[in-house]
């Protein structure tokens, strides 16, 4: 199994009291609550944390994109990946992901990813995402067109990376007379493409398609939902597309906290993970999460039903119990990941070792302990440790 370290880069210095006034830290929280001096310290601390992971032998370090919020402060993950490119030597740098479809011109990102791939000698992983619902408020892009634009932006970018230019791209949303990328990406045919998702059948169907077979990365969710979506990839591959999905196409991303004992881990992580779920994550309204047309009516109803049960006031015990996070002694964490791997067979594991307000000293302790006590054991997990996939008699969709 490959193990990577992911950072959200939250504004950990946020006055958590703003939640009472604004109900959310997305879109409407005035940016007067952001202090650039503190932001300077945070960015550099977070980059140090990812560089430490690279030094300690993680297979990769990961950044992502969000806009106009205190939850994740990387409106441009390319900037962060660039800062990391020359400070690391061997590990993969994963952008999980970039929302190409939010751009009026996705070729700007295609060019930047190609530059990163060439600078790093082919260490880039390109994540293609649509952005969360609130991004459609921030960017003014119509959520109704989101899926169509996402897929068309992908076609444009992959063609730009692989087809000899110049050529014309004639799409519905993007029409370019001249596509002729300088530089072309380093990796052949192009950087690996990943599809990070909070859980979407549409994304799975698209990622698992035989023309793509992209890595599907399930972002932190209850273990039951993770298993359902990861199994659905294999099921779609087999039932609809007639091939057996390889386990290296299947990834899971989750917050992890390790300390000397289970009790110490829970005590140390508690307020910080609860800040993530109770302050940084909530939106003002359901529409902010799921603007109209962002997903099909069926997916919307499923997503709303899943959300309704878990409103506010989440406790760390529930997060552990539901498998949304992994927290405990090295032994507990190793066993838990091995159990999940036995059940789901993912060969890509992405852990988030800083979350919410987790301060520098605890983050560093977490990273070092994970790297020393957990990483070697879980990296050794292969398909032989997976119980295997059995096609359900009734289609899960």
């Amino acid at each position: 199994m490959k193990v990577m370290s992911f950072h959200l880069m939250p504004y950990a210095d946020l006055d958590l009291g703003v939640k009472d006034k604004y109900r959310t830290v997305w879109i409407v929280l005035p940016n007067s609550h952001y202090d650039p001096q503190k932001g300077h310290a945070l960015y550099n601390r977070y980059l140090d944390e990812l560089e430490l992971c690279a030094e300690l032998g993680f297979d990769g370090i990961c950044v992502n994109e969000h806009h106009q919020n205190a939850y994740g402060l990387m409106p441009s993950p390319v900037v962060m990946a660039s800062a990391l490119a020359r400070r690391t030597r061997d590990c993969r740098i994963a952008i999980l992901g970039n929302a190409f479809c939010l751009r009026e011109h996705p070729l700007t990102l295609a060019e930047e990813h190609a530059m990163l791939d060439v600078i790093t000698g082919g260490r880039l992983i390109s994540g293609f995402v649509r952005g969360v619902g609130s991004e459609y408020f921030s960017f003014g892009v119509n959520p109704v067109d989101s899926l169509e634009r996402h897929q068309e932006a992908h076609d444009l970018v992959v063609q730009a990376w692989t087809r000899p230019g110049p050529f014309a791209f004639e799409g519905k949303h993007y029409h370019c007379e001249y596509v002729n990328l300088w530089p072309r990406p380093y990796q052949k045919p192009h950087p690996p493409i990943w599809c990070p998702s909070m859980g979407s059948v549409e994304t799975l169907e698209w990622a698992a398609h035989p023309d793509r077979k992209y890595v599907y990365l399930q972002a932190y969710s209850p273990a039951e939902a993770v298993a359902r979506y990861l199994d659905l990839y294999r099921e779609l591959a087999q039932r609809r597309y007639g091939y057996e999905a390889s386990s290296d196409r299947i990834g899971w991303s989750t917050p992890v906290y390790v300390a000397a004992t289970d009790e110490a881990a829970v005590n140390e992580a508690r307020e910080h993970i609860e800040a993530l779920f109770n302050v940084f994550l909530p939106k003002q309204s359901e529409l902010m999460f799921f603007p109209p047309g962002y997903m099909s009516p069926e997916s919307l109803k499923r997503a709303l039903a899943a959300k309704r049960g878990h409103r506010g006031g989440v406790k760390i015990e529930q997060l552990i119990e539901r498998g949304v996070m992994i927290c405990g002694s090295p032994d507990t964490v190793r066993c838990r990941i091995a159990e999940c791997h036995h059940r789901m067979g993912f060969q890509e594991f992405v852990c988030m070792l800083q979350f919410g307000t987790l301060p520098a000293h605890l983050t560093e302790k977490n990273i070092r302990l994970f790297a020393a006590e957990v990483l070697p054991a879980i990296r050794a997990l292969t398909d032989r440790d997976y119980r295997g996939f059995e096609l359900p008699r009734v289609a899960a969709e």
Partner: protein, 257 residues
């Protein structure tokens, strides 16, 4: 008054409309909530007019055709509808999104139009006067914003809360977003062509409209040559639903039979 539901194919779009009454033709173009709640004023109007009430593409029982990208497509669709049904001398009454569609029709062709009634119409932007963002607030809160009378507002909020996960409400929101997401419920190029509206136009607005503030009523009145303006007291964004007698009276004086 009995309205018959009918379907017509326009340019490959199966369009559902209701038709009732008799007299000169009058088309009512609904707002973003569609026709889930039937405005009783349409029954009153059907006593004098042949009232045609389409579901816009993607709303209610009408299909969303793949080619309907923005409000101009809907405007051309309805100009085609009038031709197909051979309606001429049509009084067009549009509420909110429907008012915007009516204006997009009128700047293209008034050949089949006799008059225009704009109730709390969308379509333009007045700098510095924000409209409520109907996509940002939950349906219950939006219903509260839509009415001036707190009692009516609370009742509407309860209905909106009960319906918000129903297919019809979801589809109506999706169709509203398709036509009105960006920029929010206006066409920057519409205002410069409003001088082409050469049929009698009546702008009707609720004095307490918190969705599209009354400053928009004044702007339309100023931009549309010779237009009349009626402000309805104690009414919000749906004056024809909240104060039907006052609006019916205002329309009575304006609409010739």
């Amino acid at each position: 008054m009995a309205f018959a539901v009918q379907t017509v194919d326009i340019n490959g779009c199966k369009l559902s409309y209701r038709r009732g009454g008799g007299g000169a033709p009058l088309a009512y173009l609904h707002g973003t909530d569609g026709l889930a709640e039937w405005p009783a004023i349409l029954d009153t109007l059907a006593e004098r007019f042949d009232v045609v009430v389409p579901d816009h593409p993607g709303f209610g029982a009408s299909e969303m055709p793949p080619w309907a990208d923005d409000v101009s497509d809907v405007a051309y669709l309805y100009l085609d509808l009038f031709e197909t049904l051979d309606l001429s001398g049509v009084h067009v009454v549009g509420h909110s999104l429907g008012g915007w569609i009516a204006l997009e029709m009128a700047v293209r062709s008034t050949a089949r139009l006799r008059s225009l009634t704009l109730i709390s119409s969308a379509g333009i932007h007045v700098k510095g006067v924000p409209k409520a963002d109907i996509f940002m607030v939950d349906p219950e809160d939006l219903a509260r914003l839509a009415y001036a009378d707190p009692k009516i507002a609370e009742e509407a909020a309860a209905r909106a809360g009960a319906d918000k996960y129903q297919d019809l409400a979801i589809l109506n929101r999706i169709a509203s977003a398709r036509f009105g997401w960006q920029p929010r419920f206006f066409n920057p190029r519409l205002e410069r062509w409003l001088h082409r509206v050469n049929v009698p136009t009546h702008v009707i607005w609720g004095e307490g409209d918190r969705i599209i503030p009354p400053a928009y009523a004044e702007a339309f009145h100023r931009l549309i040559p010779g237009s009349a303006l009626t402000m309805i007291p104690n009414a919000g964004h749906l004056p024809h639903v909240e104060r039907p007698p006052a609006v019916a009276q205002a329309m009575q004086g304006f609409l010739p039979n």
